[in-house]
Protein backbone atom coordinates (compact mmCIF):
# COMPACT_ATOMS: atom_id res chain seq x y z
CA UNK A 1 0.00 0.00 0.00
CA UNK A 2 3.05 2.25 -0.11
CA UNK A 3 3.91 5.18 2.17
CA UNK A 4 0.25 5.89 2.90
CA UNK A 5 0.07 2.68 4.90
CA UNK A 6 2.64 4.20 7.21
CA UNK A 7 0.40 7.15 7.96
CA UNK A 8 -1.97 7.19 10.91
CA UNK A 9 -5.51 8.34 10.80
CA UNK A 10 -8.42 8.96 13.09
CA UNK A 11 -8.37 5.32 14.06
CA UNK A 12 -4.81 5.54 15.42
CA UNK A 13 -5.54 8.75 17.27
CA UNK A 14 -8.66 7.31 18.89
CA UNK A 15 -6.80 4.13 19.73
CA UNK A 16 -4.06 6.21 21.30
CA UNK A 17 -6.54 8.12 23.49
CA UNK A 18 -8.16 4.84 24.40
CA UNK A 19 -4.80 3.30 25.34
CA UNK A 20 -3.97 6.36 27.44
CA UNK A 21 -7.00 5.68 29.57
CA UNK A 22 -5.83 2.10 30.13
CA UNK A 23 -2.23 3.11 30.66
CA UNK A 24 -3.00 5.75 33.28
CA UNK A 25 -5.43 3.46 35.06
CA UNK A 26 -2.74 0.79 35.20
CA UNK A 27 -0.06 3.24 36.32
CA UNK A 28 -2.20 5.36 38.63
CA UNK A 29 -0.60 4.01 41.79
CA UNK A 30 2.94 4.29 40.42
CA UNK A 31 2.54 7.88 39.27
CA UNK A 32 0.92 8.81 42.58
CA UNK A 33 3.72 7.13 44.47
CA UNK A 34 6.30 9.10 42.49
CA UNK A 35 4.34 12.27 43.25
CA UNK A 36 4.26 11.40 46.97
CA UNK A 37 7.99 11.56 47.14
CA UNK A 38 8.44 15.04 45.69
CA UNK A 39 4.92 16.39 45.26
CA UNK A 40 1.44 16.03 46.63
CA UNK A 41 0.51 12.46 45.81
CA UNK A 42 -2.07 13.15 43.13
CA UNK A 43 -0.46 12.87 39.70
CA UNK A 44 -1.69 9.34 38.95
CA UNK A 45 -5.13 10.18 40.30
CA UNK A 46 -5.21 13.30 38.14
CA UNK A 47 -4.17 11.54 34.91
CA UNK A 48 -6.54 8.66 35.53
CA UNK A 49 -9.47 10.98 36.23
CA UNK A 50 -8.64 12.99 33.10
CA UNK A 51 -8.50 10.14 30.64
CA UNK A 52 -11.56 8.42 32.05
CA UNK A 53 -13.35 11.70 31.32
CA UNK A 54 -11.81 11.87 27.83
CA UNK A 55 -13.10 8.38 27.07
CA UNK A 56 -16.56 9.27 28.31
CA UNK A 57 -16.58 12.45 26.26
CA UNK A 58 -15.49 10.71 23.06
CA UNK A 59 -18.05 7.98 23.59
CA UNK A 60 -20.82 10.51 24.16
CA UNK A 61 -19.80 12.72 21.25
CA UNK A 62 -17.90 10.75 18.63
CA UNK A 63 -15.53 13.24 16.99
CA UNK A 64 -15.78 13.97 13.28
CA UNK A 65 -12.05 14.07 12.62
CA UNK A 66 -8.59 13.95 14.16
CA UNK A 67 -8.63 17.59 15.06
CA UNK A 68 -11.94 17.34 16.94
CA UNK A 69 -10.80 14.20 18.75
CA UNK A 70 -7.69 15.94 20.05
CA UNK A 71 -9.64 19.11 20.72
CA UNK A 72 -12.21 17.19 22.75
CA UNK A 73 -9.39 15.53 24.70
CA UNK A 74 -7.86 18.93 25.39
CA UNK A 75 -11.08 20.52 26.59
CA UNK A 76 -11.91 17.53 28.76
CA UNK A 77 -8.48 17.41 30.38
CA UNK A 78 -8.63 21.12 31.12
CA UNK A 79 -12.09 20.72 32.59
CA UNK A 80 -11.45 17.60 34.68
CA UNK A 81 -7.83 17.40 35.74
CA UNK A 82 -6.82 20.61 37.46
CA UNK A 83 -3.41 20.83 39.10
CA UNK A 84 -0.38 21.46 36.92
CA UNK A 85 -1.04 18.45 34.72
CA UNK A 86 -4.50 19.63 33.60
CA UNK A 87 -3.50 22.86 31.92
CA UNK A 88 -0.20 21.43 30.66
CA UNK A 89 -1.52 18.25 29.04
CA UNK A 90 -4.64 20.20 28.06
CA UNK A 91 -2.50 22.71 26.21
CA UNK A 92 -0.50 19.87 24.69
CA UNK A 93 -3.62 18.42 23.08
CA UNK A 94 -5.03 21.85 22.20
CA UNK A 95 -1.92 22.69 20.18
CA UNK A 96 -1.73 19.18 18.79
CA UNK A 97 -5.32 19.53 17.60
CA UNK A 98 -4.51 22.80 15.85
CA UNK A 99 -1.55 21.14 14.13
CA UNK A 100 -3.88 18.50 12.74
CA UNK A 101 -6.49 20.91 11.45
CA UNK A 102 -7.78 19.82 8.08
CA UNK A 103 -5.74 16.63 8.03
CA UNK A 104 -7.74 13.43 7.48
CA UNK A 105 -4.55 11.36 7.65
CA UNK A 106 -1.26 11.93 9.42
CA UNK A 107 1.89 11.34 7.43
CA UNK A 108 5.10 10.76 9.38
CA UNK A 109 5.83 14.48 9.17
CA UNK A 110 2.38 15.28 10.51
CA UNK A 111 2.92 13.03 13.51
CA UNK A 112 6.10 14.90 14.33
CA UNK A 113 4.29 18.21 13.78
CA UNK A 114 1.59 17.08 16.20
CA UNK A 115 4.11 16.35 18.98
CA UNK A 116 6.13 19.43 18.16
CA UNK A 117 3.10 21.70 18.51
CA UNK A 118 2.02 19.97 21.70
CA UNK A 119 5.44 20.14 23.30
CA UNK A 120 5.81 23.75 22.25
CA UNK A 121 2.48 24.42 24.00
CA UNK A 122 3.73 22.83 27.24
CA UNK A 123 6.86 24.98 27.06
CA UNK A 124 4.88 28.16 26.64
CA UNK A 125 2.23 27.35 29.21
CA UNK A 126 4.63 26.17 31.93
CA UNK A 127 7.67 28.31 31.11
CA UNK A 128 9.97 25.46 32.06
CA UNK A 129 13.15 24.48 30.24
CA UNK A 130 15.06 21.26 29.71
CA UNK A 131 16.66 20.09 32.94
CA UNK A 132 14.05 21.63 35.24
CA UNK A 133 12.85 18.13 36.17
CA UNK A 134 9.44 18.28 34.51
CA UNK A 135 7.50 16.44 31.83
CA UNK A 136 9.55 18.43 29.32
CA UNK A 137 12.55 16.31 30.21
CA UNK A 138 10.72 13.44 28.53
CA UNK A 139 8.95 15.45 25.83
CA UNK A 140 11.92 17.42 24.53
CA UNK A 141 14.30 14.48 23.97
CA UNK A 142 11.39 12.58 22.41
CA UNK A 143 10.82 15.41 19.97
CA UNK A 144 14.49 15.56 19.14
CA UNK A 145 14.51 11.82 18.45
CA UNK A 146 11.45 12.17 16.24
CA UNK A 147 13.03 14.89 14.18
CA UNK A 148 16.13 12.80 13.63
CA UNK A 149 14.13 9.72 12.73
CA UNK A 150 12.04 11.77 10.32
CA UNK A 151 15.18 13.20 8.73
CA UNK A 152 16.36 9.62 8.27
CA UNK A 153 13.13 8.93 6.41
CA UNK A 154 11.63 6.41 8.80
CA UNK A 155 7.88 5.86 9.17
CA UNK A 156 5.54 6.88 11.99
CA UNK A 157 5.86 3.68 14.03
CA UNK A 158 9.62 3.80 14.09
CA UNK A 159 9.54 7.51 14.79
CA UNK A 160 7.30 6.94 17.75
CA UNK A 161 9.32 3.98 18.99
CA UNK A 162 12.46 6.06 18.99
CA UNK A 163 10.59 8.91 20.64
CA UNK A 164 9.36 6.62 23.40
CA UNK A 165 12.88 5.30 23.95
CA UNK A 166 14.23 8.82 24.17
CA UNK A 167 11.40 9.82 26.54
CA UNK A 168 12.20 6.86 28.74
CA UNK A 169 15.84 7.86 28.91
CA UNK A 170 14.83 11.45 29.60
CA UNK A 171 12.48 10.27 32.32
CA UNK A 172 15.25 8.32 34.04
CA UNK A 173 17.59 11.25 33.66
CA UNK A 174 15.27 13.33 35.84
CA UNK A 175 16.28 11.24 38.85
CA UNK A 176 19.56 13.00 39.70
CA UNK A 177 18.24 16.47 38.85
CA UNK A 178 17.21 19.07 41.44
CA UNK A 179 13.78 20.39 40.44
CA UNK A 180 13.48 23.99 39.40
CA UNK A 181 9.84 24.10 38.40
CA UNK A 182 6.59 22.84 39.86
CA UNK A 183 5.90 21.58 43.30
CA UNK A 184 9.07 19.49 43.52
CA UNK A 185 11.18 22.66 43.40
CA UNK A 186 9.97 23.52 46.93
CA UNK A 187 11.94 20.56 48.21
CA UNK A 188 15.23 22.03 47.07
CA UNK A 189 18.04 19.44 47.18
CA UNK A 190 15.62 16.86 48.60
CA UNK A 191 14.07 16.51 45.14
CA UNK A 192 17.30 14.86 43.98
CA UNK A 193 17.14 11.08 43.64
CA UNK A 194 13.48 10.88 42.66
CA UNK A 195 12.01 10.37 39.21
CA UNK A 196 9.67 13.14 38.07
CA UNK A 197 6.05 12.00 37.89
CA UNK A 198 5.20 14.26 34.94
CA UNK A 199 8.18 13.02 32.94
CA UNK A 200 6.92 9.52 33.68
CA UNK A 201 3.40 10.22 32.50
CA UNK A 202 4.86 11.84 29.36
CA UNK A 203 6.93 8.75 28.63
CA UNK A 204 3.81 6.61 29.08
CA UNK A 205 2.00 8.88 26.61
CA UNK A 206 4.67 8.38 23.96
CA UNK A 207 4.89 4.65 24.49
CA UNK A 208 1.12 4.44 24.08
CA UNK A 209 1.36 6.43 20.84
CA UNK A 210 3.90 3.99 19.46
CA UNK A 211 1.64 1.12 20.38
CA UNK A 212 -1.42 2.79 18.85
CA UNK A 213 0.31 3.44 15.55
CA UNK A 214 1.77 -0.05 15.47
CA UNK A 215 -1.55 -1.78 15.89
Amino acid sequence: MGPLSMAGGKREVLHWLDLLQQVYAANRAWLTELDSAIGDADHGINMDRGFIAVQAELAAHPPADIRSALQAAAATLIRHVGGAAGPLYGTFFLRAAAACAGKPELEAGDVVALFQAGTQGVCERGKAAAGDKTMLDALLPALEAMRQALAEGTGSVEILDRAAAAAEAGMRATIPIQARKGRASYLGPRSIGHQDPGATSAFLMLRAAAEAWRA
Binding site: R79, G83, A84, R180, K181, Y186, G188, R190
Partner: protein, 340 residues
Protein backbone atom coordinates in the same frame (compact mmCIF):
# COMPACT_ATOMS: atom_id res chain seq x y z
CA UNK B 1 -13.18 1.21 47.43
CA UNK B 2 -15.09 -2.02 47.19
CA UNK B 3 -18.37 -2.67 48.95
CA UNK B 4 -18.20 -1.53 52.53
CA UNK B 5 -14.46 -2.01 52.84
CA UNK B 6 -12.63 1.19 53.64
CA UNK B 7 -8.89 1.20 53.34
CA UNK B 8 -7.87 4.08 55.54
CA UNK B 9 -8.83 5.56 58.87
CA UNK B 10 -11.09 8.32 57.72
CA UNK B 11 -14.73 9.18 58.22
CA UNK B 12 -15.54 9.05 54.52
CA UNK B 13 -17.32 6.96 51.92
CA UNK B 14 -15.78 6.62 48.46
CA UNK B 15 -12.48 8.53 48.71
CA UNK B 16 -13.12 10.26 45.40
CA UNK B 17 -16.43 11.63 46.67
CA UNK B 18 -15.01 13.11 49.85
CA UNK B 19 -14.62 16.73 48.66
CA UNK B 20 -18.13 16.85 47.18
CA UNK B 21 -19.70 15.20 50.22
CA UNK B 22 -17.91 17.70 52.42
CA UNK B 23 -19.43 20.53 50.40
CA UNK B 24 -22.86 18.96 50.53
CA UNK B 25 -22.58 18.71 54.31
CA UNK B 26 -21.37 22.28 54.52
CA UNK B 27 -24.33 23.47 52.48
CA UNK B 28 -26.79 21.51 54.63
CA UNK B 29 -25.28 22.92 57.81
CA UNK B 30 -24.93 26.52 56.63
CA UNK B 31 -27.70 27.16 54.15
CA UNK B 32 -28.04 30.63 55.68
CA UNK B 33 -24.49 31.47 54.64
CA UNK B 34 -23.77 29.75 51.37
CA UNK B 35 -24.93 27.73 48.39
CA UNK B 36 -23.05 24.92 46.68
CA UNK B 37 -22.95 24.01 42.98
CA UNK B 38 -21.72 20.48 42.30
CA UNK B 39 -21.29 20.70 38.50
CA UNK B 40 -19.00 22.47 38.14
CA UNK B 41 -18.01 22.51 41.81
CA UNK B 42 -18.06 25.87 43.55
CA UNK B 43 -19.48 27.59 46.62
CA UNK B 44 -21.02 31.06 46.75
CA UNK B 45 -22.48 33.34 49.38
CA UNK B 46 -26.18 32.78 49.88
CA UNK B 47 -26.83 36.31 48.65
CA UNK B 48 -24.37 36.32 45.73
CA UNK B 49 -23.89 38.22 43.57
CA UNK B 50 -24.03 41.30 45.77
CA UNK B 51 -24.86 44.09 43.31
CA UNK B 52 -22.18 46.73 43.04
CA UNK B 53 -19.78 44.99 45.42
CA UNK B 54 -16.43 43.81 44.15
CA UNK B 55 -16.41 40.01 44.29
CA UNK B 56 -13.75 38.01 46.11
CA UNK B 57 -12.95 34.51 44.95
CA UNK B 58 -10.39 32.00 46.03
CA UNK B 59 -9.80 28.38 45.32
CA UNK B 60 -7.33 25.59 45.42
CA UNK B 61 -7.24 21.93 46.19
CA UNK B 62 -9.54 20.42 48.77
CA UNK B 63 -8.03 19.10 51.98
CA UNK B 64 -7.34 22.50 53.56
CA UNK B 65 -10.67 22.92 55.30
CA UNK B 66 -12.08 25.28 56.49
CA UNK B 67 -10.17 27.18 53.78
CA UNK B 68 -11.62 28.18 51.30
CA UNK B 69 -15.24 27.02 51.31
CA UNK B 70 -15.52 27.65 55.03
CA UNK B 71 -14.60 31.29 54.46
CA UNK B 72 -17.45 32.04 52.09
CA UNK B 73 -19.91 34.48 53.61
CA UNK B 74 -20.42 38.02 54.67
CA UNK B 75 -17.20 39.93 55.22
CA UNK B 76 -14.99 37.36 53.55
CA UNK B 77 -15.20 35.41 50.26
CA UNK B 78 -18.02 35.65 47.73
CA UNK B 79 -17.05 32.35 46.18
CA UNK B 80 -14.66 29.47 46.49
CA UNK B 81 -13.84 26.71 44.06
CA UNK B 82 -12.29 23.62 45.61
CA UNK B 83 -10.59 21.09 43.38
CA UNK B 84 -9.92 17.44 44.12
CA UNK B 85 -7.80 16.85 47.22
CA UNK B 86 -4.56 18.87 46.88
CA UNK B 87 -5.36 19.52 43.21
CA UNK B 88 -6.10 23.02 41.99
CA UNK B 89 -9.55 23.61 40.54
CA UNK B 90 -10.14 23.66 36.80
CA UNK B 91 -10.75 26.76 34.69
CA UNK B 92 -14.43 25.97 34.17
CA UNK B 93 -15.05 25.82 37.91
CA UNK B 94 -13.23 29.10 38.42
CA UNK B 95 -15.10 30.67 35.52
CA UNK B 96 -18.51 29.60 36.81
CA UNK B 97 -17.67 30.76 40.33
CA UNK B 98 -16.42 34.09 39.01
CA UNK B 99 -19.68 34.65 37.19
CA UNK B 100 -21.63 33.79 40.33
CA UNK B 101 -19.52 36.16 42.42
CA UNK B 102 -19.65 39.08 40.02
CA UNK B 103 -22.03 41.77 41.19
CA UNK B 104 -20.96 43.98 38.31
CA UNK B 105 -17.93 45.49 40.00
CA UNK B 106 -15.49 42.79 38.94
CA UNK B 107 -13.87 39.93 40.81
CA UNK B 108 -10.53 39.50 42.54
CA UNK B 109 -8.94 36.06 42.35
CA UNK B 110 -6.79 35.28 45.36
CA UNK B 111 -4.41 32.62 44.09
CA UNK B 112 -1.79 30.70 46.00
CA UNK B 113 1.54 30.35 44.27
CA UNK B 114 1.55 26.82 42.90
CA UNK B 115 2.09 26.03 39.24
CA UNK B 116 -1.24 24.26 38.96
CA UNK B 117 -3.19 27.02 40.66
CA UNK B 118 -1.54 29.73 38.62
CA UNK B 119 -2.13 27.96 35.31
CA UNK B 120 -5.76 27.14 35.96
CA UNK B 121 -6.58 30.60 37.31
CA UNK B 122 -4.80 32.22 34.37
CA UNK B 123 -6.84 30.21 31.89
CA UNK B 124 -10.04 31.02 33.77
CA UNK B 125 -9.22 34.72 33.95
CA UNK B 126 -8.75 34.81 30.18
CA UNK B 127 -12.14 33.16 29.70
CA UNK B 128 -13.82 35.58 32.12
CA UNK B 129 -12.21 38.64 30.63
CA UNK B 130 -13.40 37.49 27.23
CA UNK B 131 -16.91 37.58 28.71
CA UNK B 132 -16.34 41.13 29.86
CA UNK B 133 -15.85 40.47 33.59
CA UNK B 134 -13.15 42.63 35.16
CA UNK B 135 -10.95 39.97 36.76
CA UNK B 136 -7.79 40.73 38.72
CA UNK B 137 -5.54 38.19 40.35
CA UNK B 138 -3.18 38.45 43.29
CA UNK B 139 -0.75 35.63 43.91
CA UNK B 140 0.01 34.86 47.56
CA UNK B 141 3.56 33.66 48.28
CA UNK B 142 4.37 33.99 51.94
CA UNK B 143 6.19 30.76 52.81
CA UNK B 144 9.69 31.56 54.05
CA UNK B 145 10.73 27.90 53.92
CA UNK B 146 11.14 28.19 50.16
CA UNK B 147 13.72 30.49 48.69
CA UNK B 148 12.42 32.64 45.91
CA UNK B 149 15.02 32.15 43.24
CA UNK B 150 15.44 31.22 39.64
CA UNK B 151 15.74 27.69 40.88
CA UNK B 152 12.27 27.33 42.32
CA UNK B 153 8.73 28.03 41.23
CA UNK B 154 8.92 30.86 43.79
CA UNK B 155 7.53 30.78 47.27
CA UNK B 156 4.39 28.87 48.16
CA UNK B 157 1.23 30.60 49.24
CA UNK B 158 0.14 29.45 52.68
CA UNK B 159 -1.25 31.13 55.82
CA UNK B 160 -1.29 34.69 54.48
CA UNK B 161 -4.13 33.56 52.24
CA UNK B 162 -6.48 33.38 55.23
CA UNK B 163 -5.51 36.84 56.45
CA UNK B 164 -5.82 38.28 52.94
CA UNK B 165 -9.27 36.77 52.51
CA UNK B 166 -10.47 38.24 55.81
CA UNK B 167 -9.02 41.69 55.24
CA UNK B 168 -9.96 42.02 51.57
CA UNK B 169 -13.40 40.61 52.37
CA UNK B 170 -13.93 43.40 54.86
CA UNK B 171 -12.74 45.96 52.33
CA UNK B 172 -15.12 44.63 49.69
CA UNK B 173 -17.96 44.73 52.20
CA UNK B 174 -17.12 48.36 52.90
CA UNK B 175 -17.37 49.10 49.20
CA UNK B 176 -13.71 49.42 48.20
CA UNK B 177 -13.47 49.30 44.39
CA UNK B 178 -11.79 46.28 42.80
CA UNK B 179 -8.50 48.03 42.04
CA UNK B 180 -8.11 49.11 45.66
CA UNK B 181 -8.84 45.64 46.94
CA UNK B 182 -6.22 44.30 44.58
CA UNK B 183 -3.70 46.80 45.98
CA UNK B 184 -4.72 45.91 49.53
CA UNK B 185 -4.30 42.21 48.84
CA UNK B 186 -0.79 42.79 47.50
CA UNK B 187 -0.03 44.81 50.61
CA UNK B 188 -1.14 41.98 52.88
CA UNK B 189 0.93 39.53 50.91
CA UNK B 190 3.97 41.79 50.97
CA UNK B 191 3.82 42.21 54.74
CA UNK B 192 3.03 38.60 55.70
CA UNK B 193 5.34 35.64 56.23
CA UNK B 194 4.69 32.03 57.25
CA UNK B 195 6.38 28.77 58.03
CA UNK B 196 4.98 25.32 58.73
CA UNK B 197 6.05 22.01 60.25
CA UNK B 198 4.61 18.51 60.43
CA UNK B 199 4.67 15.97 63.24
CA UNK B 200 2.95 13.38 61.05
CA UNK B 201 2.16 12.98 57.37
CA UNK B 202 -1.37 12.83 55.97
CA UNK B 203 -3.14 10.48 53.59
CA UNK B 204 -4.73 11.69 50.37
CA UNK B 205 -8.03 9.73 50.37
CA UNK B 206 -7.77 8.62 46.74
CA UNK B 207 -4.14 7.59 47.22
CA UNK B 208 -4.86 5.57 50.36
CA UNK B 209 -1.49 5.84 51.99
CA UNK B 210 0.57 8.45 53.77
CA UNK B 211 2.47 10.94 51.63
CA UNK B 212 5.70 10.34 53.51
CA UNK B 213 7.03 8.44 56.47
CA UNK B 214 8.43 9.94 59.63
CA UNK B 215 10.14 8.11 62.46
CA UNK B 216 8.76 8.50 65.97
CA UNK B 217 11.44 11.06 66.80
CA UNK B 218 11.43 13.08 63.58
CA UNK B 219 9.54 16.07 62.26
CA UNK B 220 9.39 17.77 58.88
CA UNK B 221 10.28 21.45 58.94
CA UNK B 222 9.30 23.84 56.18
CA UNK B 223 6.32 21.95 54.83
CA UNK B 224 3.65 23.38 52.60
CA UNK B 225 0.00 22.48 52.85
CA UNK B 226 -0.17 19.57 50.43
CA UNK B 227 1.18 16.77 52.54
CA UNK B 228 4.53 17.15 50.82
CA UNK B 229 7.79 16.59 52.66
CA UNK B 230 9.39 19.75 54.03
CA UNK B 231 12.73 21.40 53.44
CA UNK B 232 14.46 19.38 56.13
CA UNK B 233 13.91 16.62 58.59
CA UNK B 234 14.68 17.45 62.21
CA UNK B 235 14.60 15.64 65.52
CA UNK B 236 11.49 16.14 67.62
CA UNK B 237 11.91 19.26 69.76
CA UNK B 238 10.03 20.73 72.71
CA UNK B 239 7.60 23.48 71.74
CA UNK B 240 9.85 26.21 73.13
CA UNK B 241 12.79 25.29 70.89
CA UNK B 242 10.66 24.48 67.89
CA UNK B 243 8.71 27.71 67.95
CA UNK B 244 11.81 29.77 68.63
CA UNK B 245 13.26 28.33 65.47
CA UNK B 246 10.13 28.85 63.39
CA UNK B 247 9.47 32.35 64.70
CA UNK B 248 13.09 33.19 63.99
CA UNK B 249 12.71 32.17 60.34
CA UNK B 250 9.56 34.23 59.92
CA UNK B 251 10.79 37.32 61.77
CA UNK B 252 14.15 37.45 60.00
CA UNK B 253 12.65 37.21 56.57
CA UNK B 254 10.53 40.35 56.30
CA UNK B 255 12.17 41.37 58.66
CA UNK B 256 9.75 42.19 61.46
CA UNK B 257 11.24 44.78 63.80
CA UNK B 258 10.98 45.95 67.36
CA UNK B 259 7.98 48.24 67.60
CA UNK B 260 6.00 46.34 64.97
CA UNK B 261 2.53 45.25 65.79
CA UNK B 262 1.35 42.10 64.08
CA UNK B 263 -1.65 39.97 63.36
CA UNK B 264 -0.51 36.45 64.27
CA UNK B 265 -1.99 33.15 63.25
CA UNK B 266 -1.08 29.91 65.00
CA UNK B 267 -2.60 27.40 62.67
CA UNK B 268 -3.10 23.69 63.17
CA UNK B 269 -2.54 21.36 60.23
CA UNK B 270 -5.73 19.43 60.95
CA UNK B 271 -4.80 16.74 63.45
CA UNK B 272 -3.32 18.87 66.20
CA UNK B 273 -5.53 19.58 69.19
CA UNK B 274 -6.26 23.04 70.52
CA UNK B 275 -4.30 22.37 73.70
CA UNK B 276 -1.11 22.20 71.69
CA UNK B 277 -1.94 25.21 69.53
CA UNK B 278 -2.38 27.44 72.56
CA UNK B 279 0.88 26.11 74.01
CA UNK B 280 2.46 27.16 70.72
CA UNK B 281 0.75 30.54 70.94
CA UNK B 282 2.18 31.08 74.40
CA UNK B 283 5.70 30.40 73.11
CA UNK B 284 5.18 32.71 70.16
CA UNK B 285 3.86 35.48 72.38
CA UNK B 286 6.91 35.37 74.64
CA UNK B 287 9.39 35.17 71.77
CA UNK B 288 7.86 38.14 69.98
CA UNK B 289 7.55 40.08 73.22
CA UNK B 290 11.28 39.55 73.71
CA UNK B 291 11.86 41.08 70.28
CA UNK B 292 9.64 44.07 70.99
CA UNK B 293 6.97 42.85 68.58
CA UNK B 294 3.40 43.11 69.85
CA UNK B 295 0.64 40.71 68.81
CA UNK B 296 -2.27 43.07 68.24
CA UNK B 297 -4.69 40.44 66.95
CA UNK B 298 -4.51 36.67 66.68
CA UNK B 299 -6.11 33.51 65.36
CA UNK B 300 -5.40 30.21 67.09
CA UNK B 301 -6.99 27.15 65.52
CA UNK B 302 -7.33 25.06 62.38
CA UNK B 303 -7.73 27.42 59.43
CA UNK B 304 -5.54 26.20 56.57
CA UNK B 305 -4.94 22.52 57.02
CA UNK B 306 -3.52 19.44 55.31
CA UNK B 307 -6.18 16.81 55.93
CA UNK B 308 -5.42 15.08 59.25
CA UNK B 309 -1.76 16.06 59.43
CA UNK B 310 -0.45 16.89 62.91
CA UNK B 311 1.68 19.99 63.07
CA UNK B 312 1.35 23.73 62.92
CA UNK B 313 2.21 26.81 60.97
CA UNK B 314 2.91 30.36 62.07
CA UNK B 315 1.91 33.43 60.08
CA UNK B 316 2.77 37.00 61.00
CA UNK B 317 1.35 40.04 59.26
CA UNK B 318 2.88 43.45 59.92
CA UNK B 319 -0.24 45.42 60.74
CA UNK B 320 -1.12 49.07 60.46
CA UNK B 321 -4.27 50.95 61.37
CA UNK B 322 -6.01 50.17 58.09
CA UNK B 323 -5.31 46.46 58.36
CA UNK B 324 -6.36 46.28 62.00
CA UNK B 325 -9.55 48.16 61.35
CA UNK B 326 -10.46 45.88 58.44
CA UNK B 327 -9.51 42.88 60.55
CA UNK B 328 -11.96 43.94 63.25
CA UNK B 329 -14.85 44.30 60.82
CA UNK B 330 -17.59 41.71 61.22
CA UNK B 331 -17.26 38.37 59.47
CA UNK B 332 -19.83 35.61 59.25
CA UNK B 333 -18.66 32.38 57.69
CA UNK B 334 -18.61 28.72 58.71
CA UNK B 335 -14.94 28.91 59.63
CA UNK B 336 -14.51 32.41 61.02
CA UNK B 337 -17.02 34.65 62.68
CA UNK B 338 -17.16 37.69 64.86
CA UNK B 339 -19.11 40.87 65.25
CA UNK B 340 -22.29 39.33 63.83
Amino acid sequence: MLGSQLEMKKLINDPLDAPAEFLAGLALAHSDLLRVSLDPVYVVRADAPVPGKAGLLSGGGSGHEPMHAGFVGRGMLDAACPGAVFTSPTPDQIQAATRAANGGAGVLHIVKNYTGDILNFEMAAELCQAEGIDVRAVVINDDVAVEDSLYTAGRRGVGATVLAEKICGAAAERGYPLAEIETLCRKVNRRARSVGMALTPCTVPAAGKATFELAEDEIEMGIGIHGEPGRERLPLLPAAELIARMAGMVVADLPFRSGDQVIAMVNGMGGTPLMELYIVYRELHHILEGLGIRIARRLVGNYITSLEMAGCSLTLLQADDELLSLWDDPVLTAGLRWGL
